[in-house]
Symmetry: C2
Subunit: 472 residues, 2 copies
């Protein structure tokens, strides 16, 4: 009997791979080791659980352990893979104080990423949270919990009862600070405002959601201010102060008394398991992979938030840890390991975010520094155009930024923001970019027109027209 396909990590990438493998090779063995209690949860849904828009923590769970087992997958929760020997093709697994060794035929490292908070002094105080994982979401919801409701159902087996109960006992906060104006920060500001809290967002740079470009950042800033959020841009947080519990944010311009802090300043790939192995990491610190998700060591794959993926615009590896990338790569690797080689697909850096009623999307290379580093000669235009025919009610100004390469005319990236169906329009640009489209070709696309959905010239076409005028 051959050794099993071993998967480290029971979330999007890991379980997608295991499920696909089990479906394609019902006779094969696959083991998934998950060091924690939670599996297969919707990370991107956690801000909406904190907000209360998603009612139960269980709503965020895609698959239960028994559903996973029913797929023919051996699921081992609370099992941490602590070492990999790529010569012997074994992993060492720690569980309940014991260690064991398991051989593998193929290994998928899908260890994910973790939220970073350590650059900020005081981030280990009580009342300081990051939002990475269900436990953090439950703890924050427990703090915010409205009287008369049971915000976190501790009958759910995997819930960390002790932490939840400790935070449930806290007085609900009145003033909260969000450190970091990226998309997690903005989503959490929306969540806190929904609970009626005085909400401050601190952003080190001059505009919010930097990967979406300046125009989108400005629209979001204006909108979140209208929603009662106090923005502190160009303002670095120096320290979170307090004894046991956080009491204040000490920043460049002063000190703000707070009851709770959410730190959303980025994440870092979990690759410690691979140190000491010949598996190479990329410049980003995430695992280098090829177009089939293979690492530099035979029989070892990596996928999800711990891995790099080839970028469709640059052709180079990039680390853009997002949900579709993880699911897609996991599924492809499961199929490859099962015997049918399947490419994981490039990424285009497509991302969308909701900030209260404002919607933003971004794709590709928008920033000129990044485009120049990739060897392009970037030129950008930003336009604002209506989302619907001017006479049709309910539309909103839609802001489109397009970046192209001056020499080839190729569209390199773009961002779209607005309150009326703006985010999903980014898929048009994502498709154009992945299919190597020039600005002139984009300008002539036969996009949809009907008064309730788009003006005759869709905002994307308007942007292409203006940018093309500069390229011609």
């Amino acid at each position: 009997m051959s050794d099993p396909f071993v998967v480290v990590g029971g979330d999007a990438a890991g379980l997608s791979a295991a499920s696909k493998f089990a479906r394609e090779r019902p006779d094969g063995d696959v083991i998934v080791y998950e060091k924690g209690r939670w599996i297969s949860y919707a990370h991107c849904g956690t801000p909406y659980y904190v907000k209360g828009e998603v009612e139960h923590v269980t709503d965020l769970l895609s698959l239960s352990p028994s559903e996973v087992e029913d797929r023919g997958i051996a699921l081992r929760r609370n099992h941490e893979v602590v070492a990999v020997d790529t010569d012997d093709r074994t992993v060492t697994v720690a569980h309940d104080g014991d260690r064991s060794v398991q051989s593998y035929s193929d290994l998928l490292v899908a260890t994910g990423a973790r939220a970073v908070s350590d650059p900020i002094d005081g981030s280990s105080l009580d009342g300081v949270f990051t939002l990475h994982g269900i436990d953090a979401a439950c703890a924050i919801r427990a703090v915010l919990g409205e009287p008369g409701t049971d915000p976190v159902d501790t009958s759910v087996e995997a819930v960390d009862r002790e932490t939840v109960e400790r935070y449930t006992a806290w007085e609900p906060p009145e003033t909260v600070a969000v450190v970091g104006g990226g998309y997690v920060g903005i989503e959490m500001a929306e969540a806190f405002r929904a609970h009626g809290l005085e909400t401050h967002v601190f952003q080190r740079s001059g505009h919010l959601i930097p990967p979406f470009g300046e125009a989108a950042g400005q629209r979001v800033a204006e909108h979140v201010r209208e929603q009662g959020v106090t923005l502190h841009t160009d303002c670095a947080v120096e320290e979170l102060a307090g004894d046991d519990r956080v009491e204040a944010v000490v920043h460049e311009d002063g000190r703000l008394a707070v009851d709770l802090v959410l730190v959303g300043i980025g994440i870092r790939p979990n690759t410690e398991l691979l140190s000491g192995t010949p598996v190479e990491l990329g410049e980003s610190g995430a695992v280098t992979t090829d177009d089939h998700g293979r690492t530099t060591v035979e029989g070892v794959y990596a996928a999800g938030d711990c891995a790099e993926t080839r970028h469709a615009v640059t052709g180079e590896p990039a680390w853009v840890p997002l949900g579709l990338t993880a699911n897609r790569a996991g599924r492809a690797i499961g199929q490859t390991v099962a015997g049918t080689p399947s490419p994981v697909g490039d990424i285009a850096g497509t991302a969308v975010v909701k900030a209260f009623d404002m919607e933003c999307g971004r794709v590709g290379l928008i920033d000129h520094e990044a485009a120049e580093a990739a060897g392009f000669d970037p030129v950008s235009e930003t336009v604002t155009a209506g989302s619907r025919s001017g006479y049709y009610p309910g539309g909103d100004e839609t802001t489109v930024t397009l970046t192209a390469d001056r020499d080839s005319g190729r569209v390199l990236g773009g961002a779209i923001s607005g309150r009326d169906r703006a985010a999903i329009r980014i898929d048009t640009l994502a498709t154009a970019i992945e299919r190597d489209t020039t600005v002139a070709q984009l300008e002539r696309l036969d996009l949809a027109y009907a008064p309730p959905f788009s003006p005759v010239w869709d905002p994307v076409l308007v942007a292409a027209k203006v940018l093309n005028g500069r390229l011609e």
Copy 2:
């Protein structure tokens, strides 16, 4: 002095061409002849004017005559071009009982299309309308007019006062029939229901909005029924009965007493002006044009609803009279005539429609007969998937139909329907189709994911995955 650029028709294509020409060649002469009183109006907005969602008829006008003149365009309303001599390069113009001859350097035929109603006996009765043109919209709104409001402002100079006043005097209808379940019919059913009328839609074939495919047609049928519309599908209308005024719809299965009838069974290109000239028409009856909008006769261009355009999927001429096509071709022809040859762009047959709260989009070749006629071996799949993450509120089932060519795997066409941002998603498919994308490539596109806007696997990706499974 050289002869002017002469444009026949003062709507989207004609005025786009004249405007672009005037901007590029401020020293050049351009004359626009419009046989009617209205220019540059938003045809696609007329159902929403009838509905009352667009309040004033003037809201539908993009450009006033004086704005057109300010652009350096000689606008001649109530001037009908009645003959073209392509040898002499002249047109004969009728105005106020007189005729005159005008030479041209280049000629653009942008005569549009007209609604068809003559196949139905009784279509000339009072109370039977088509919806093509502002006059028709004003007349219908006058009939529906609510007491205490002045639905059509007869101080607007171009309004046909006599007709409006005659219809204003009518008792508001209680029961209306819409003959034709295409998009005009469905939009008008929505408008009539907004006025509280008992609304019947008669459709000769088995499903509504046939160009959108069966799945979209079924979703729309179900939805409009929920909105109180009575559907008569597979039911041909034999006659509209009445003395002067329409009193009943006589159909295959019986007779329905009605107060008003809207016939929306299609349109026909206005090409009579060219009969007797060597300008060739295509199979559709619309004018044959090349990739620059040139007809088969030198110096004569055609654009808009009277012209064919090359289809991106078949590479063959097609007649898909829609707003963007007209505007885009007009603008390109204006630029070409001004001295900078500019392609008009292919069409992909992209169209979107709102049916109450249901949104539908379509693009390319969906129908197998059409795909086979174009030399493809079509295969289709229809899937239904959520528009948002399952746990996020406010989403709707989104139905996606994809048609591909079995041999090449190329995506040929698709349709999307649903209540949550479904229509605008068609632009993703339009872009994919115009950029020659295979189903396998579509399946691996990095499309947007965030719980409020899309599940991890966007419905388009789900459809591609399922269809690709059949192709592999």
